[in-house]
């Protein structure tokens, strides 16, 4: 009887967490920090339609706005997972609440790109002040950076892996890796400047 109740409880927990058990959730975090997003896509895209329906029902969102807000929420949610800011509990509730906030922000700014709620400590105004050509120049500059530098910067800035963990994986000291990171950023800036001025 007790076992049955415990099974029911774990089923309810999983339903609240997009079908993920606590162990699955840990696996998902590990994969994301290893730069793999396959499982994330598989789990969360299954609920994309539900999220859109929620926004349409709750906020009378148009189809396009509900799509954009759900998509942006997926990106923000993913980043927060990697940063360890989201805990297992009621992911579904958290996700739909976040989608609501993203939708309202999108509507307020009336411009999708400018209102993209980035996860950095930069204000929306700062982000909006960067011309589109700069992002295009960066896309050209990025492949010109060496493979090792690209791996290191992506792991640190996008996959949110701590420098000491990267150091451990590579058998280097944290201080050496910090210097390497600085050199890589320097190099990237130089290549970017060249591209942007061209």
């Amino acid at each position: 009887m007790e076992k049955q109740t415990s099974n029911q409880r774990s089923k309810t927990d999983e339903a609240k967490n997009f079908g993920l058990s606590p162990e699955d959730f840990q696996t998902l975090l590990q994969e994301l920090r290893a730069g793999k997003d396959e499982l994330y896509q598989q789990v969360f895209l299954n609920h994309f339609g539900d999220c859109m329906n929620y926004l349409k029902r709750q906020y009378k969102a148009t189809h396009e706005d509900a799509y954009d807000a759900s998509m942006d929420t997926l990106l923000i949610f993913c980043d927060r997972l990697k940063k360890g800011r989201i805990q297992y509990g009621n992911l579904r509730f958290l996700f739909t609440q976040m989608a609501g906030q993203v939708y309202l922000k999108l509507k307020k700014k009336n411009s999708r790109y400018a209102s993209f709620p980035n996860s950095l400590d930069l204000s929306d105004e700062e982000t909006a002040s960067i011309p589109q050509e700069a992002f295009e120049a960066f896309d050209v500059a990025w492949p010109e950076l060496g493979t090792e530098c690209r791996k290191l910067l992506k792991a640190f800035f996008y996959d949110r892996v701590k420098l000491k963990d990267v150091a451990l994986q590579q058998g280097k000291s944290e201080a050496a890796l910090r210097k390497q990171k600085q050199r890589c950023m320097q190099k990237l800036q130089a290549i970017f400047k060249k591209q942007y001025q061209a």
């Binding site: 396009e64 998509m71 990106l75 700062e126 896309d139 950076l145 600085q182």
Partner: protein, 234 residues
Amino acid sequence: MKLFDKYRQNSANEEEKAAMTELFIQQKYDKELKDKMKKRLERDHGITRNRSQQGTALRRKMVVRWVSSIAAAVLIGLAIWQVASPRLNYQNMADEMLTAYIPSNEMRKGAGDFSEERGEAIIAYNRQDFERSAQLRELIAKGGAATEEDFFYLGVSFLSQEQVQVAPAIEALQNALNIPQGQLRQEAQWYLSLAYLKADRIADARSLLERIVNENEWKASSAARLLEVLPSEK
């Protein structure tokens, strides 16, 4: 002054530089993830941003399912064929090992041997334009100024091209190994053994692979795996 202006004018401090780097990288990879998810939503769930495309997307999904089933059957057939051809096993493994990892070629600040041609070759190599990279390194070699690094990356470039050029790759890697006290000796040895396998020169490959394993050099475990599948009589 805006952060971006500071960044492009080189007046950003380390923290600001890190913030801009983070922003650019995040935007780039978020965009890539978004594109992947858009495609997947359309393919697997029939959801598109434009509502009028939804019916088409669902019909397309059915077609895609049929095509995928046929493709899967063909792939299974191919896999069975691969398993049934042990002769090619070592070549397949060599191909996989060649594509799984491409050594990076960083520019070294302040190096005495730095030239414009070499710089261009490095940029081409990092863009994975191996044809161009090989052309430039060959020019350096013809000018008589080639270093171990030039020969090594020339060899790797030949091996990484869409149409692999085995004979020139072997020559370049042998040249790299002929340079005394080279820094890239272990790497050159490994790629030369893969090149020998591509050329079906089993005895030469075996001798190099055995040396790598015996001296526990770079890629020793991969070399051991290759040795296990090499045919004995060649």
